[in-house]
């Protein structure tokens, strides 16, 4: 009971609060928002995000350029401007855009786009993992979260939400924008005819979000600091790729060795979702393991991360 005399005597005294406390789901958004806020305060984040926007703009204007050239393919030459003007054959550029970059609104367009953006995602995740998650373990902030009316699941979900929003800002949302753009410059029936592509993009983005956010939280809770995080992600994403290429393309071992590269597995799962036949995977000379094997590895990876995080957070609850 508050002493009524004190209540009147000073404006700086303790005031009771009367209000309703909500359930455990509102706090997860607060956790996600705080993590995103911490990330957005890093200048490096904005630099790398700018780079990812440039990749998006390259694809965006590449698609536009392709349509523009298709309309002028009857012309023999296009005179380019600039300091060194020269005549360019539209067919040459069109061939480059359609075959090399696959900017044709097909499954390859979106899979390639997400693949290229993946490099930026990897670098940013490696650098921000400690700020968003590792610090909670390193500076003992986890008891701060877990002493509130939320469970470990809400904490992990909140962090996954933050990482997921960030990943989707770089991959899924721009890929959907490319899909919408292609519909505008092609025909309206493109949207309906390629609904599978749209759903595939969403599935691919969701799979990347779930896998990478769990992988990031698991590795960040393990190594905590930025430099070890960068080293772990380099081993997983760069060294893994180099080793699989050396084993399969160099030593001609079984193509299943490619499964050690998690980004390649996600790429395969994405193609599966986008409906690309396995034999149409590019480049054609590169033998790839089956879609199901890639999905299985991703599933194992997700389950392992969940079990590891459960154990890790339980241990923190006990010792913190």
């Amino acid at each position: 009971m508050v002493n009524p005399q004190l209540e009147k005597s000073s404006l700086l005294h303790y005031r009771p609060w009367r209000g309703e406390l909500s359930g455990s789901w509102r706090p997860t958004w607060a956790i996600a928002r705080t993590a995103l806020g911490l990330l957005s305060r890093r200048k490096l984040f904005w630099g790398l995000y700018g780079l990812s926007v440039m990749i998006f703009l390259f694809f965006f204007y590449g698609q536009y350029l392709q349509v523009f050239l298709e309309q002028r393919v009857t012309e023999e030459n296009i005179r380019s401007g600039g300091l060194f003007p020269k005549n360019i054959k539209p067919e040459t550029i069109l061939h480059q855009l359609q075959n090399a970059l696959q900017l044709n609104g097909s499954a390859d367009t979106y899979a390639n786009f997400i693949w290229f953006e993946g490099y930026i995602v990897m670098v940013i995740l490696a650098l921000i993992g400690s700020a968003a998650i590792g610090n909670d373990f390193h500076h003992g902030s986890l008891p701060f979260y877990l002493s509130k009316p939320i469970g470990p699941f809400h904490y992990i979900f909140g962090k996954c939400l933050a990482v997921g929003i960030f990943i989707n800002l770089i991959t899924t949302i721009p890929a959907v924008l490319l899909f919408i753009e292609y519909g505008f410059i092609d025909t309206w029936s493109y949207y309906w005819d390629n609904l599978r592509l749209f759903l595939g993009i969403i599935f691919y983005g969701s799979l990347i979000t779930i896998t990478l956010s769990l992988l990031l939280i698991a590795t960040a809770s393990w190594v905590k600091r930025t430099m070890p995080m960068v080293m772990i992600w380099t081993v997983m994403m760069v060294l893994g790729r180099m080793i699989q290429r050396w084993l399969v393309d160099g030593l001609h071992l079984r193509k299943e060795w490619r499964l050690i590269d998690i980004w390649n597995d996600l790429y395969l799962a994405g193609h599966w979702a986008l409906g690309t036949p396995h034999e149409a995977l590019r480049p054609p000379w590169q033998m790839q393991p089956s879609y199901h094997a890639a999905l299985l590895v991703i599933g194992i990876c997700i389950v392992t991360c969940i079990f590891y995080l459960r154990k890790k957070i339980q241990a923190v609850e006990i010792v913190a």
């Binding site: 986890l142 469970g151 699941f153 913190a320």
Partner: protein, 339 residues
């Protein structure tokens, strides 16, 4: 006064380490000191009260919410039940319980990169407060704790005293009826410590908060608390109010004697007096039994023909009493009736 904590035979075991042994406690609302040396099990008990960890065995209630042993809870995954309504109920019970409790952890538990106001408002949102209300309340609490000038500063730039106060602020944000405070004066200088203890006393005495103050400093408990629970090696060694612990204090005297005092000392010991220290300048420190009367010193001195040049009371401090209580290896629990 309502009973806020009612524990029955609580045990907590981490592998071979028996952190808590058969803890049975019934505590009424008020200011309670949880006292014990490092490793006594205080923090573990606080985590059980908070529902952060489940006891290995035993049961109890905190603010009318049940605490269940891990024998029931361990079947849940991430705290979520597996096709079992009661397990989900346990998780919800823990969430309800934590809404009624403010916990100030011993560790820093700060989030680097956040400002003070963001940190406290985040705590409010984690408790389930709407964002706007959490922001407004964070300003209020920080002003009350005299952190208004530092609220827009990053937490990394806070001094130890400010860190302790902001940890208290995040525990107070939702105005809980019960505060669990784990070593709130740890790392503070004397002035900071006094200020923190004054705050806690004010919160308990004037604003009706129940406090459980976990510390290894008896002086902190003396200033703030009415009730006291002493833990040692995971067991309760004493439970009662602070006044009753004072009644356990031994009467002591400092004597200054001139002349050969060997026979005088022998007689003192025969009378049941314990000689705590003696130096070759005739200065003695003695502990007398309850029924001892001061004039008996003079009678004995006269009998042995020594001159008693100095006699002053030298009462056992609460610190000494606490040390004496925790050093005693008796397994029996000393219980005194709460007045």
């Amino acid at each position: 006064m309502e009973t806020i904590i009612d524990l029955n035979e609580i045990n907590q075991q981490f592998y071979s380490n028996h952190a808590l042994k058969n803890i049975s406690l019934k505590l009424k609302s008020g200011r309670i000191g949880l006292l014990g040396p490092n490793g006594a099990g205080k923090s573990t008990l606080l985590k059980i009260l908070l529902g952060l960890i489940s006891p290995t065995s035993g049961e109890g209630k905190v603010l009318s919410e049940s605490i269940q042993s891990s024998k029931v809870k361990q079947r849940s995954f991430f705290g979520w039940g597996r096709n079992n309504f009661t397990l989900r109920g346990t998780q919800r019970g823990n969430e309800r319980l934590r809404k009624k409790i403010g916990y100030m952890p011993e560790a820093d538990a700060l989030i680097p990169g956040l400002t003070g106001i963001e940190y406290v408002a985040l705590a409010g949102e984690l408790y389930g407060m709407p964002r706007a209300q959490a922001q407004r309340r964070a300003h209020e609490v920080l002003t009350y704790l005299e952190l208004e000038d530092a609220r827009y500063r990053r937490l990394e730039q806070y001094s130890t005293g400010m860190k302790q106060r902001i940890k208290l602020a995040q525990a107070l944000i939702h105005d809980p009826p019960l505060l669990l405070l784990d070593e709130p004066t740890s790392g503070l200088d004397p002035a900071g410590r006094d200020a923190m203890l004054r705050l806690l006393l004010e919160l308990g005495r004037d604003f009706g908060k129940s406090l459980i103050l976990s510390t290894h400093l008896l002086a902190d408990v003396e200033v703030v608390c009415e009730q006291i629970v002493i833990l040692l090696n995971g067991s309760i060694r004493f439970q009662g109010n602070v006044d009753s612990i004072r009644s356990q204090q031994h009467d002591r005297y400092r004597l200054r004697i001139q002349g050969d005092n060997r026979d005088f000392c022998k007689d003192l010991q025969l009378e049941g007096i314990e000689i705590l220290s003696e130096n070759n300048r005739g200065e003695l420190r003695v502990q007398v039994p309850k029924e001892w009367q001061t004039r008996n010193f003079f009678v004995l001195a006269d009998h042995h023909q020594v001159i008693l040049r100095g006699l002053e009371p030298d009462q056992e401090t609460l610190e000494e009493l606490f040390l004496r209580m925790v050093i005693v290896n008796s397994p029996t629990q000393v219980e005194l009736a709460t007045k």
